[in-house]
């Protein structure tokens, strides 16, 4: 008690919090200055860009409308179609493999769990490009005469799928584990075998949970399919990135790259929108 008494006179005069401080800016003023500065920098940057850019050169290099027009309809009917085909085949293969790896990861048999764990660590740890080189170059070199079924499509499905499976396995495993334990118990107590309960009760619920992240994976695969560039494909097998690059080097102009990029966005932006919608819906559905 006496200690606080002796201390008291040393404390500063209490200031009325409703009164602005005498010196310096108020918080509101500071905020206004800060925002004003940020706008000023933005406007200055845009102005500098507009003034200094070589618009004619840029248009010539990136937006030649006649060159862009030449790319149609091949860029859609051939390149985009192939991109979609590569993506879907990789996704389907990856999904099936991922499902198997996820179930192995959850197995009660130790060796299955280890193999699945090692698989996931390896394929998540390696660049997708390396896997593509492995599938496209190393395998044919090491085992001459072996043909991956499906030609380029098979190779791409393998390359994309091997990587995607590792990510999807972890997603699916998390989804299965997110289904309450009571679901399995209820099914088992009704006489379902473990396998049947998994297939009829747990996995359908797990899939609802993992649809948003799997759709996200589809977007990633769609972009990664550009790695086909490194496989050496025939003219008919070209996808967007390869198609754009070939045309760019033929014409010594960057417009084809821009158009190819737009084609990617045409798919990835709506898909991304779908993912966010699905996530929001999943968030709402509190059981």
């Amino acid at each position: 008690m006496s200690e606080t008494k002796t201390r008291k006179p040393r404390e500063p005069e209490p200031r009325d919090p409703l009164q602005p401080r005498k010196a310096g800016l108020t918080r509101r003023q500071k905020r206004a200055v800060s925002r004003g500065l940020q706008y000023a920098v933005f406007v200055a940057a845009v102005a500098a860009l507009v003034v200094t850019a070589d618009w004619g050169g840029l248009r010539n290099q990136f937006a030649q409308s006649d060159l862009a027009g030449q790319m149609f309809p091949d860029i859609i009917t051939l390149a985009l179609k192939n991109t979609v085909l590569y993506t879907v085949s990789g996704f389907v293969f990856g999904l099936v493999l991922g499902m198997v790896v996820a179930l192995m990861r959850l197995s009660s048999v130790g060796p299955y769990r280890w193999v699945a764990g090692i698989y996931i660590e390896i394929f998540r740890g390696l660049p997708a490009l390396l896997i593509f080189i492995f599938v496209g170059v190393a395998v044919p070199l090491a085992f001459p005469g072996t043909e991956i079924p499906g030609g380029t499509y098979g190779k791409v499905a393998l390359g994309l799928g091997l990587v995607a499976a590792a990510y999807m396995a972890e997603t699916i495993r998390a989804g299965i584990q997110a289904v309450p334990k009571g679901q399995m118990e209820a099914a088992r107590s009704l006489g379902f075998s473990h396998m049947r309960a998994m297939v009829s009760i747990v996995i359908p619920q797990a899939f609802r949970i993992v649809i948003p992240p799997l759709t996200n994976e589809l977007v990633l695969l769609f972009k990664d399919s550009s790695l086909v560039l490194f496989l050496g494909v025939t003219l008919e097998e070209r996808e967007l990135a390869k198609f754009g690059r070939d045309l760019a080097s033929q014409t010594a102009n960057s417009t084809p790259i821009l158009v190819a990029g737009l084609c990617y966005l045409l798919v990835t932006v709506p898909l991304g929108f779908v993912v966010r919608r699905l996530e929001a819906k999943a968030g709402e559905a509190t059981r």
């Binding site: 679901q183 107590s189 006489g191 049947r196």
Partner: protein, 277 residues
């Protein structure tokens, strides 16, 4: 319902033979010994309520009867079949045992009707029409025929639990196990579920009920079993065990139940620890 004839036949087909027989049952979770030697007989058509404090092992005992928990030691017989025999087809035995959970555990991705028909079709291989007929009949029985097309999430807790009972009944079980069926319900919804269980008891269903509903136990049970610390402390007619308990532990438990300030503090509705009784 009062069948006194104690038969020793192991097939248990005669009326009054033990439908559920538990012998020397032990269950440990790691170092935690939850059941320490349980012996219990439940006759055909008998309603037995198992009461006791949290962690007494009563839920674990119930879950051992249909092998949701694997006993560490001891034997369980249901209708003459040894459930604990490693060679027994447990899925076949479970078809004869209905189970109702505290958390209902309806399948949320299926409608009410599908919740009832899917197990019949997948497990009992009934055809579509037959499964639908049995489903409608049992929904009628629990008073929820008008909810046939609804999804579980749109039902109240009490309605969900009645659907769960109907789902178990649709499999035509010989025995029904209830694991604290009203503990997760709002108080005003408890009555409907208990009414359905009362109806089942009157129809002669063999029932083993883990519960905290002393009024239900007193009125419906043929026998009350009080468990504490993994053993059966006392059992007998409800008026005896609940009305005039002979053990101090039973008296202590019942007095705590009656004193709302002490009753069931800390018993979370969501059971995370499966060792919890």
């Amino acid at each position: 319902m009062t069948t006194n004839a104690e038969t020793t036949t192991s097939t248990g087909t005669t009326a009054g033979a033990p439908e559920i027989r538990v012998r020397g049952l032990h269950k440990s979770f790691g170092d935690n010994e939850v059941l320490r030697g349980i012996d219990l007989d439940i006759r055909q058509g008998e309603v037995v309520c198992v009461i006791g404090p949290s962690g007494s092992g009563k839920s674990t005992l119930l879950r051992c009867v249909n092998l949701l928990e694997e006993p560490t030691r001891g034997q369980v017989f249901v209708g003459g079949t040894e459930v604990t025999d490693p060679d027994v087809d447990i899925d076949a035995v479970r078809r004869r045992i209905g189970m109702v959970f505290q958390q209902f555990n309806l399948f949320p991705h299926l409608t009410v009707t599908e919740n009832l028909t899917l197990p019949q079709r997948r497990v009992l291989k009934r055809d579509k029409a037959e499964a639908a007929r049995v489903a409608a009949e049992n929904l009628q029985r629990v008073g929820l025929a008008e909810k046939a097309a609804a999804y579980p999430s749109s039902l109240s807790g009490g309605q969900q639990q009645r659907v769960a009972i109907a789902r178990a009944l649709a499999m035509g079980p010989e025995v029904m196990l209830f694991d604290e069926p009203t503990s997760a319900l709002d108080p005003e919804l408890v009555g409907d579920v208990l009414a359905v269980m009362r109806m089942l008891a009157n129809d002669g269903m063999t029932m083993m009920v883990v519960t905290h509903e002393m009024t239900f136990a007193r009125e419906v049970a043929d026998r009350v079993v009080f468990m504490d610390g993994g053993v059966i402390v006392e059992e007998g007619a409800p008026e005896q065990v609940i009305g005039d308990p002979s053990h101090e532990r039973t008296r202590h438990f019942l007095s705590r139940l009656l004193d709302p300030a002490m009753a069931e503090v800390g018993e979370a509705p969501e059971r995370l620890d499966k060792a919890d009784g």
